[in-house]
Symmetry: C2
Subunit: 272 residues, 2 copies
């Protein structure tokens, strides 16, 4: 697996810990952290040009079976369109794994029909309490294990996104057609009113989807007054208003419990 | 002018101060604060039903020449579509004045071709340092004064929005066609990276506009690391990437200096 950072930089200590875990427990997997993971340029892990070049190297190199995004944080949207325009045929059979801000790349790849986009824990998750289990989930998935998959996925194609990331993706040239899909969403660090506002927006854009499932919504800041309804009620309300089926909870989120969601039908996922 | 609160409640003391100022300096204007301005229901100034009913009363009552939104804060999007569906012919000649979250209503009215939407200071602005001048600007405008208009408006139709509000509005059934318009934007309280992300989103939705002008962007929180470019560079960059003309700065924002922008051509504005 090639690892690069399309958004923000990874601390080298996390790369070392992921490498050590993989060597000890998954000796059949080879992980290659691109130096770009540790680059800094203001907010980002290198300039747009540097991040794009590293991502293209990882995607276009036939030596790699998959591209694993090291970390989210914001920025992959800035290179997504150029990446899709420049990626070559080597990427067609690769898995692309990550979540949060990197959902923009998963969406752009899915729209373009390139490779297998997979919502999955990232190297940076090693820092969380229980984070080794999250990282193990992605590594085991790469070796063919089903154990880390989100458990309630059935015969319906699925896609999973951070809600804010999805709200910025809808209507753009990187947005895939999700008609007929279960759309799993999760969020972290947003006020109740902001979640309500994001749901207003995305539900008007998600025409024809099979429904929405709600993952973890964590670290909601306290406002100067209570919103008046909880997050599940907010999501159900906007689903009702827009004629979208609310399909219950999902096991995804910004936590060590974050499960794996291959985009599309589970059967279509890439295995080593 | 009828005053209601489509989003969050106004403190009664601000209504008293605005009423006193208007009585002393603008005796030809009559202000009627609807009781709903002071209602509370969780985050909102009353439930959606209560806010919608008050807004319809104000818009449909022939006794009023204009509807002034008391305050933003979040929530007018929740009633905008129902409002447009239920408002009657009395609204056709009225001005609708406000900004921030209430930009959703201005946009929805503009899309529907109902009345004259006007980006303008609101009663809540009385609380700001220099806020009396902001309130005077709207009151004088209602009596026909041009002095409070954004000074660089020419022969091009215009519209003005809070950036986040616009980002949630694009692609929804309340979004007006802004082709050929100068779009003025302003923001408060968002990180640089969030402004970048919002600009990514809105520039992909604003096809065919005449250009973007940037108002005040205030109270930007400090992130754990500098973003690497300032707000004007961010806006210029996304304009460049999307083929939208960047037209320079504008005198709008969440401050007492906020100027008036009638939607459409200035000549089309409502006067008493």
């Amino acid at each position: 697996m090639a690892i690069c950072a399309p958004a923000t930089p990874l601390r080298p200590v996390y790369a070392e810990r992921v490498t050590a875990l993989a060597s000890a427990e998954f000796p059949d997997l080879s992980l290659t952290f691109h130096d770009q993971c540790f680059a800094h340029d203001g907010h980002f892990a290198g300039s747009d040009a540097v991040r794009l070049a590293a991502l293209l190297e990882c995607a276009n190199d036939p030596a790699f079976d998959a591209v694993w995004f090291a970390k989210g944080g914001y920025g992959s949207n800035r290179i997504a369109a150029d990446f899709i325009a420049q990626v070559d045929g080597q990427a067609a059979t690769k898995g692309f794994l990550g979540y949060s801000d990197c959902g923009t790349l998963l969406g752009a790849l899915y729209r373009a029909g390139i490779g297998q986009p997979v919502h999955a824990p990232m190297p940076v998750d090693i820092k969380r309490s229980g984070g080794e289990d999250a990282v193990r989930r992605t590594l085991a998935y790469m070796l063919g294990s089903d154990e880390g998959l989100e458990p309630d996925m059935g015969g319906t194609p699925a896609a999973a996104f951070n809600l804010y990331t999805l709200a910025m993706l809808v209507g753009t040239k990187s947005m895939p057609n999700l008609a007929g899909h279960e759309v799993l969403i999760e969020e972290i660090g947003e006020y109740h009113y902001a979640i309500d506002r994001l749901m207003f927006h995305v539900t008007q854009h998600l025409h024809g989807i099979a429904g929405i499932r709600l993952g973890e919504v964590s670290a909601i800041p306290e406002n100067d007054r209570p919103f008046g309804s909880d997050v599940e009620d907010i999501v159900r309300d906007w689903c009702d208003r827009s004629g979208i089926a609310y399909l219950g909870r999902a096991q995804i989120g910004h936590s060590a419990a974050n499960r794996i969601v291959p985009f599309g039908l589970e059967a279509g996922r890439t295995r080593d």
